[in-house]
């Protein structure tokens, strides 16, 4: 207790005298950056998820071939989740004699739980948002169905045994599938009418869907509960499963944000370590004196521990408050980009910020602090008596533990974390070695420079350990920042490039072989930009390596679906730049007609396949045996025809199939109506709404990435401040002596500028090298294309010289103003 009181007094006194300002400031900024990132990631992450969830019309979907069991609904209600029911089936819809196969979607009140329905009075026009669903007795056909049936508002459509009146045309719904499994047009009816249609008969293919929405914790509870239930032939889906494009964008954004906040943590950690070192250096005399005056080692330790803990607590509270205010401000600034109903940030980031601050403080500051307690009291008589040197292990272990914990906590993936740590360790070693070599060689060039520069360079060489430490700290900070900057650019460019404004907005399916050329011509005459046209054959997988599917167990959740569903198959000779072979080889002209197959990696993962596996497909009653020749990574967000399963040309050419393509067309109902009229057999899908949805998600992810990067920059500035402050005390003394010897302020400032600019340049060169390597690796980890960046080198070297030089100059300016007398006497 006495130690706490002493610590409180010491803290108050040191605070008042300004002694603690730098350590306190860097801690506070560290926590502010940490929790600010945390708050923002929390809120924006939420928003991205919410927006992404619109694609599912829910946060979670439970799909089943049998009616959803009552206990599932009960569990969802018990957990406080919002829920709605959706039942879908294919059925012929009649308007008088005209009929069309359509996807009947019976929905209950509340649908959609995420996203919105838009409706209109006529087909193929832009719709307005509605919060309601069709009332009992009503039917909302989509544009295509209404056009095909010649139905309008007021028409009576027969759905099974029930006749329903058209009251709206459905323009868009959030869960328009992006994987193009459903080719039929769609309609919405009220759940209450389903029984009366008598469509639910034994043997009819019906999918029952329970839509759920709520907080992440509730959803997790539901998932856990669901996994605990045995023998349910159901599929639980979230957005990553349902929409690969959005899944990709939000996964990458989440990983980038995690990396960005991790970099902020590491920068702050280095800043804290440097502040703690100078804190300890400044306190050596005080501790020696306290010991002379009778303080025991335990008391010294306790007082200092308390002091640090109190400091951390105060900095955490203020930092968290600052972080919270900053994200509040950022959300305001980003208004328009971010949706208005951004969910509020939870308290967790503040708690996590405090815990991480403590962990970092313990890892980075504790070894120095323990060192402080070992200062001999003799130091009061002999200035050179210091604490025994800290053993490498004692210093390294807490640091390593803290870093490993923080890295794993942020990245959450063991292998990624290990690689990151290895990269980090390699960077520190390389920076240290290169820094030492450069400091040594700097000593040789000083003869040719002017007096100020000579003194500056000499300083660099003389304060060897300090200089190398500073090079490592600046270099590491700069390297992380630069790597992150490259990555941010790559990410944003990649996202934007993946969805240019002229990305195909229409898909055309069921194009018969004989009208293929005409159709293509017609599209071109409408001014459409066409993509490739691929054949489309329906087929079913029968065996894998001669074992029937029913005997097999599949690793991926989607495996059973892939295995049992009828697939769309295609053949092609060209790979296309939206496909990348990750294993095996794409076929050559010589492979035409050979029994080979190329599969998308999603297919590979779900079914647990490897190169050389033999697959048997049933295509139109005929069986084909093929060998897996390659696996492809498909950019689904290219919005061009893409297939999980592709064959070489010449193998399936005989199987009568249709073609599909996609194109960008200026949205105008006239052109579409003409196409529908001339090619009634061709199914047309408008994916414009889906594109708009995905663009909104990506914009959000981009703004999140940009703002989080700001915090990381702030953390970098903290580090700069701490590193420059680290040698301030020593400089104070030296400057006084130099001035006594007749050096002008100008000469001293120039020498400081020289020293820091050189330090910055060395750190900049090393950082740019490391960042190029690190950026390439990170781009690989995030599935991005790495682009060499010359600007990086300019920014790294020139920027570092300027920023570090100016920071050093500013901090030393005040040192030069101090009268030599007050330092020397």
């Amino acid at each position: 207790m006495r130690s706490l009181i002493l610590a409180l007094r010491a803290l108050r006194r040191e605070w008042r005298s300004g002694e603690l300002a730098v350590l306190w400031l860097s801690l506070t900024i560290a926590v502010a950056a940490l929790s600010g990132v945390g708050f923002l990631v929390d809120r924006i992450g939420h928003a991205v998820e919410l927006q992404a969830s619109e694609v599912l019309a829910a946060d979670l979907r439970v799909e089943s071939d049998t009616p959803i069991a009552a206990d599932e609904q009960a569990e969802a209600t018990r957990l406080g989740l919002k829920s709605a029911h959706l039942t879908t089936m294919l059925s012929a819809i009649f308007n008088g004699d005209a009929n069309q196969l359509a996807n009947v979607r019976a929905v209950s009140a509340g649908y959609p739980l995420r996203g919105q329905l838009s409706v209109a009075d006529r087909p193929f026009v832009s719709g307005s948002i509605t919060a309601s669903i069709p009332a009992p007795g009503e039917i909302w056909p989509d544009s295509r169905l209404a056009a095909a049936l010649g139905a309008g508002i007021g028409s009576e459509l027969a759905v099974g045994a029930r006749s329903l009146r058209v009251t709206r045309i459905l323009i868009s719904r959030p869960d328009q599938s992006s994987t193009f499994v459903e080719f039929a047009s769609a309609l919405l009816i009220n759940d209450a009418d389903l029984a009366a249609t008598k469509l639910i008969q034994p043997g009819s293919r019906i999918r029952y869907v329970l839509l759920l929405a709520g907080e992440a914790a509730q959803l997790d509870s539901f998932r856990r509960w669901h996994q605990g239930q045995e023998a349910r032939h159901e599929r639980v889906e979230d957005v990553a499963d349902a929409s690969p494009q959005i899944g990709d964008a939000s996964k990458r954004a989440a990983r980038f944000l995690a990396l960005a906040s991790l970099v902020a943590v590491l920068l702050c950690a280095v800043a804290i370590a440097m502040s703690a070192r100078s804190y300890v250096r400044r306190h050596l005399d005080a501790v020696a004196l306290m010991k002379t005056l009778g303080a025991t080692r335990r008391l010294v330790l306790a007082v200092n521990l308390w002091q640090l803990l109190l400091l951390a607590a105060v900095a955490s509270v203020l930092g968290a408050a600052a972080g919270w205010l900053t994200q509040l401000w950022l959300v305001r600034v980003l208004q328009g980009l971010l949706r208005a109903d951004l969910p509020p940030a939870g308290p967790w980031p503040a708690v996590v910020g405090f815990i991480i601050a403590l962990a970092v403080l313990a890892g980075f500051a504790l070894p120095s602090l323990l060192q402080l307690t070992r200062v001999p009291a003799l130091r009061v008589l002999r200035r050179d008596a210091g604490p025994p040197a800290l053993s490498f292990l004692a210093a390294a272990i807490p640091v390593l533990l803290a870093i490993a914990g923080v890295v794993y906590g942020a990245l959450g993936q063991l292998s990624l974390s290990l690689w990151f740590l290895l990269g980090l360790a390699a960077a520190v070693v390389a920076l240290g070695v290169a820094g030492a070599a450069l400091v040594r060689s700097a000593a040789h060039v000083r003869g040719s420079a002017g007096v100020a520069w000579r003194y500056g360079i000499a300083n660099l060489a003389r304060r060897r350990t300090e200089s190398i430490t500073q090079i490592v700290a600046f270099g590491l900070g700069l390297m992380l920042l630069l790597a992150l900057a490259i990555l941010r650019d790559d990410l944003v460019t990649d996202w934007r490039a993946s969805l240019p404004l002229d990305v195909p907005n229409y898909f055309f399916v069921n194009i018969a072989s004989d009208v293929r050329a005409d159709f293509q011509h017609e599209l071109q005459s409408q001014g459409a930009q066409l993509t490739r046209m691929l054949p489309m054959i329906r087929g079913r997988l029968l065996t894998i390596n001669d074992r029937p599917l029913s005997e097999l167990h599949f690793p991926g959740v989607r495996g059973r679906g892939f295995a049992e569903r009828e697939q769309n198959l295609t053949w092609a000779s060209e790979l296309g730049d939206d496909n990348r072979i990750v294993e095996g080889h794409w076929w050559t002209a010589a492979d035409a007609g050979k029994p080979l197959v190329s599969l998308a990696v999603e297919y590979q993962d779900s079914l647990g396949l490897k190169l050389g596996d033999r697959l048997r497909f049933d295509v139109g009653g005929e069986n084909f045996d093929v060998t897996v020749a390659s696996f492809r990574k498909v950019k689904w967000d290219s919005f061009r025809p893409n297939f999980f399963v592709m064959f070489p040309p010449g193998l399936l050419d005989a199987s009568a199939g249709t073609y599909m393509t996609s194109a960008y067309l200026q949205p105008s109902s006239g052109a579409m109506a003409q196409l529908v009229h001339r090619f009634p057999g061709v199914s047309i899908f408008n994916v414009g709404d889906l594109l708009a949805q995905i663009r909104a998600v990506i914009d959000k992810a981009v703004s999140a990435v940009q703002t989080v990067f700001l915090f990381t920059l702030l953390a970098g500035l903290t580090l700069l401040l701490a590193a420059v402050q680290a040698s301030r005390e020593e400089r104070l003394y030296e400057t006084a002596i130099l001035r006594v010897l007749g050096a002008s302020r100008r000469m001293i400032l120039t020498s400081v500028l020289a020293e820091f600019a050189l330090l910055g340049a060395v750190a900049g060169v090393l950082a740019a090298t490391g960042a190029s390597l690190g950026g390439a690796w990170l781009a690989h980890a995030l599935d991005l294309k790495y682009r060499f960046n010359a600007g990086l080198w300019i920014a790294g070297v020139v920027g570092a010289m300027l920023v570090v030089g100016v920071a050093g100059w500013i901090s030393t300016r005040s040192v030069v103003r101090v009268a030599p007398r007050s330092v020397l006497y």
């Binding site: 008042r16 005399d285 005080a286 004196l289 005056l293 009778g294 303080a295 080692r297 003799l378 002999r382």
Partner: protein, 235 residues
């Protein structure tokens, strides 16, 4: 009147290793000091005075021999034990004052009392500052005080706990003659007023001469142990 022995050096030696082999800094030094005595330790630079002072105060352990301070053999105590003994029985004044720059004059004086857990730290320190003539400067920081004032604060800090022994290492070394004289006067007043034993290391013959005894050292050995006035005539 027989007075108690408060400090005893028994065959103290200190050796350190150097590039040229072991170096003896203090060699077989023995003497005793009684309650209330004032002792000056003199000798040329490198004579081993500061090392001897450090060993006497328990800041450093001898290579051989022992120190008995206030009845306690320092060799039998660990570092914390010696620190506790210093807290109760010892005061210190240094050549370079060693005031904590972040504390005010008053807080510097309060520090040893606070370390000892004394409730009346503030009152006692205020009183002590008044006695050294700095009552009006209590809230000033060391950098706002002159050298002489800083040393008076240090003196107040050393005396506030009523130590049995007050060690002073060149207490006037950093001060001009007049200020040094005032500090010396204060030092001896406190020594006599509270019956504190004073052991000071000094280069100044005049200061040494005011002490009851003068111990002269050279090359680590104790050469002479004479009365203060006698030392003056010898010098």
């Amino acid at each position: 009147m027989t007075r108690d022995i408060v400090l005893e050096a028994r065959n103290l030696s200190k050796q350190v290793s150097s590039p040229e082999g072991p170096l003896t800094i203090v060699r077989n030094v023995s003497f005793t000091v009684t309650q209330g005595e004032s002792i000056a330790l003199v000798g040329p630079s490198g004579a081993g005075k500061s090392t001897l002072l450090a060993m006497l105060a328990g800041l450093e352990l001898p290579s051989s021999g022992d120190v008995v301070l206030a009845g306690q053999a320092l060799g039998a105590l660990d570092e914390d034990g010696r620190a506790r003994l210093r807290a109760e029985r010892v005061g210190f004044v240094f050549q370079s004052f060693h005031l904590l720059p972040s504390l005010t004059a008053l807080e510097n004086v309060m520090l040893p009392l606070e370390l000892a857990g004394r409730e009346d730290a503030r009152a006692a320190a205020t009183d002590m500052l008044g006695r050294v003539g700095l009552g009006a400067r209590a809230r000033h920081y060391p950098r706002q005080l002159s050298g002489g004032e800083q040393q008076r604060v240090a003196l107040a800090r050393a005396s506030v706990g009523h130590p049995t022994v007050l060690f002073a290492d060149e207490p006037t070394g950093n001060l001009d003659t007049a200020t040094g004289e005032r500090i010396a006067q204060l030092l001896f007043e406190l020594n006599r007023g509270s019956d504190t034993t004073l052991l000071l290391v000094t280069h100044e013959a005049a200061l040494a001469a005011r002490c009851d005894r003068v111990l002269s050292m050279d090359a680590g050995a104790l050469l002479r142990d004479v009365a203060g006035a006698a030392a003056h005539t010898h010098a």
